[in-house]
């Protein structure tokens, strides 16, 4: 009921406004057009069903813990990819402690 009242209010105020400014004919034309136009509905062209075995769960860990786990997984995962990059430098000095700002080393 409230939305109806808003609609009437708007129509009347639009009509009143148009009447004052632009004359009677334009006001009537505007009201007729506003009342006859209905918005079209959108129908999807593809299937919108979710995948059959989809289960959405909430991660019980809070975001701080997720960051801790993520960072530690990154560190504990052995760096296989880096071996290829380091191959040409094998004969030179080994990786020093300078690259270990993120590791728990004694300063």
């Amino acid at each position: 009921m409230y939305c109806l009242s808003l609609l009437e209010f708007n129509y009347s105020s639009i009509a009143g406004h148009l009447l004052l400014k632009k004359g009677k004919q334009n006001a009537m034309l505007a009201i007729i057009m506003l009342q006859s136009v209905t918005p079209t509905t959108y129908i999807a062209a593809h299937r919108t069903d979710p995948p059959p075995n989809q289960v959405i769960t909430t991660d019980p860990r809070n975001i701080l813990l997720r960051h801790f786990y993520q960072k530690s997984e990154n560190k504990l995962r052995p760096k296989r990819a880096a071996v290829d990059n380091l191959a040409p430098q094998n004969g030179k000095q080994p990786r020093g402690p300078g690259g270990g700002s993120q590791s728990s080393t004694r300063s």
């Binding site: 105020s13 136009v37 918005p39 860990r61 975001i63 701080l64 801790f68 760096k79 993120q102 728990s104």
Partner: protein
């Protein structure tokens, strides 16, 4: 069928709502209708939803209405009543409409409320809904208007040491001077009646009593003859209204070496934790630790998370996890230290290898060392250099790692602990920032260490800066407890932090200093909205949310409004009205703020003189 009630709107609202510029295009009309579905029936004011952009509905015949104008981009992201197309307005109308539109936008932009006037704010609260999820922050702005500006100096009160208001505001906890009794008050508000003509400027003398504000509920004796209540220790279980107190016998520094105890840590003959139902003073349960040492100052040695309590025994290097049952019993559910899993001890005994002395390192130490080993192992991808790397990083420091002890523990959630490890000499006293320390995240269920950081780690600092609130998030916090200002939830606090960071000479020293409060001390900050940094500015050295004793100054402590930078909203002056004649005596003051009433106590203690208690409230 609900009937729309007619409430006379203030004139300014009328113009704002009905407007001189009605929405004229159908797209805006349909979006307004969509919003109107959410408003409660009976309210004549359309709710203005600040965050929803106006989505033009597709499929309109282009010839019917002129193309809808772009939503005017205000400086805040608020969707407003749209401006009508140009051909419907005369030029003069458009200008005045634009000016009115911008003026209203500026006012709303300055805050949710348009003015500082209390009545106008109440009207605004009727008509506008706050941003989604920001209801408490918005409503808190009323605390700018309701401030504890009136002070009763040197109120006559019993000679107790007042400890704290509970976080739900129902009790005030105090201890007797001989540290053996617990006295609990209920905060009430003053009421008085006058027979003769009351002075409108001042309260009658009979109203200015301690009893007007606090009603004593009971006084019980917690400590027996040779024990003393630890004045600094108090934890509150809000859901059941239980209070946890600690009594201890005198501390003896000559600790005889006993099995499992580490050297360098003093010993206390008996520490007892009492669980008291604050409603009626019934002592529900007690848990005693003998010949042990638990850091009781400021509740550092214990952490409460929902119904789990972790107590760190420094002497035996054990973390006791206790559960507070609904019935009021304290039940030990886990003991982490020598053994991590519950059946470790049984397993080792059954395999007959623990017979001779302590050949095994404690369980948690083993987890720590294995984690460091695996991390160091994975750092070096080259197999040939791996052993060298291990020698340098791990075996060289092996004994130092073994000598680390647990200093402090907190819960991150029900299964994860955040443990601070350090060297023996720094553990007992208030630590300096220079000592080396490690922070570990330990999963109690899998008994694995998830991650380990040094206390100067930039990575941990970045997590600290962004997610600081998760270090003390407690789902059972009272409504106000979740809104304690910190640099993670308040832009002013973040500015202060950034300023300190930019001024810091050494980055690692700065990080160590910032990390020193971690792990967080449970219930150490007052949830009072008067400490909210988005509402008030105050001198953090003189007063802050953390309940610590501070040095007194002669001048009152000013609370300045953030929105109006020159307006002092209220002042807190500890000590007597006339000031103290003796400027040399050492005076310390402490402040107790009620969680949500405009009521505060300031307690000034002077060496060898009487304690002065002031009551600050809103008259």
């Amino acid at each position: 069928m609900p009937v729309a009630s007619r409430v006379p709107l203030p004139a300014s609202h009328h113009r704002f709502l009905t407007g001189t510029r009605p929405p004229s295009s159908l797209s805006h009309l349909t979006s307004l209708l969509r919003h109107s579905h959410h408003s409660p029936s009976g309210s004549p004011c359309p709710k203005i939803h600040h965050h929803r952009p106006q989505i033009p509905s597709p499929g309109l015949p282009a010839a019917a209405t002129p193309a809808p104008p772009a939503i005017p981009q205000h400086r805040t992201k608020q969707a407003r009543l749209p401006r009508p197309p140009a051909d419907l307005l005369s030029p003069a109308d458009e200008l005045s409409g634009a000016r009115a539109c911008d003026a209203a936008a500026t006012a709303v932009m300055a805050g949710f409320f348009r003015t500082g006037n209390l009545t106008s704010r109440v009207f605004d609260r009727q008509c506008f809904s706050p941003r989604p999820g920001a209801t408490v922050n918005t409503v808190r702005q009323f605390y700018e208007n309701l401030v504890p500006s009136y002070t009763i100096y040197d109120i006559e009160c019993p000679d107790y040491s007042f400890r704290k208001f509970t976080d739900d505001g129902k009790y005030l906890v105090a201890f007797s001077r001989n540290h053996q009794d617990l006295i609990v008050y209920r905060p009430i508000w003053l009421t008085f009646s006058c027979n003769e003509e009351c002075d409108s400027h001042d309260l009658p003398a009979k109203a200015k009593r301690f009893d007007s504000f606090f009603k004593q509920l009971y006084s019980i004796s917690l400590a027996s003859s040779n024990e003393y209540i630890c004045k600094d220790f108090f934890l509150y279980v809000a859901c059941h209204q239980y209070g946890l107190f600690a009594t201890s016998t005198a501390q003896s520094n000559d600790s005889g070496a006993s099995e499992g105890a580490i050297h360098g840590v003093p010993s206390i003959e008996k520490i007892t934790f009492h669980l008291v139902r604050l409603e009626d003073g019934a002592i529900l349960d007690e848990k005693a630790f003998r010949n042990d040492f638990i850091n009781l100052a400021h509740s550092i040695g214990a952490y409460l998370y929902e119904d789990l309590l972790c107590i760190v025994s420094l002497r035996y290097q054990t973390i006791h996890i206790l559960q507070i049952r609904d019935s009021g019993n304290l039940v030990e559910v886990r003991r982490i230290g020598a053994f991590c899993q519950e059946d470790d001890e049984l397993y080792l005994h059954s395999h007959g290898q623990v017979a001779q002395g302590s050949s095994f390192l404690p369980g948690i130490k083993q987890r720590l060392l294995s984690f460091i080993f695996r991390k160091t192992w994975n750092e070096e991808p080259d197999q040939a250099l791996r052993v060298q790397h291990l020698k340098k990083k791990f075996y060289f420091h092996f004994q130092d790692y073994v000598d680390l002890i647990i200093w402090k523990v907190q819960f991150l959630d029900r299964h994860h602990l955040f443990i601070k490890f350090g060297s023996v000499d720094g553990g007992v006293s208030r630590t300096t920032d220079q000592n080396l320390a490690f922070f570990a995240v330990y999963n109690m269920e899998t008994t694995e260490i998830v991650s380990l950081y040094q206390n100067s780690s930039e990575e941990l600092y970045s997590l600290f800066e962004t997610f600081y609130d998760h270090f003390h998030a407690n789902p059972q916090n009272s409504l106000h407890g979740n809104f304690i200002s910190s640099h993670a939830n308040n832009v002013h606090a973040l500015d202060q932090l950034r300023t300190i960071k930019n001024k810091a000479s050494s980055s690692s020293q700065f990080v160590k200093k910032m990390m020193s409060p971690l792990p967080y001390t449970c219930q150490s900050q007052s949830p009072s909205p008067y400490f909210d940094l988005s509402l008030f500015r105050y001198d953090e050295k003189l007063i802050s949310a953390a309940d610590r004793h501070r040095h007194c100054t002669e001048h009152p402590i000013k609370f300045i409004s953030v929105k109006q930078p020159n307006v002092v909203k209220f002042k807190i002056k500890p000590g007597s009205d006339a000031g103290s004649s003796d400027g040399r005596a050492k005076r310390i003051s402490s402040f107790l703020f009620h969680p949500f009433f405009p009521l505060a106590l300031s307690i000034q203690q002077t060496y060898m003189q009487a304690t002065v208690v002031n009551v600050h409230f809103r008259r």
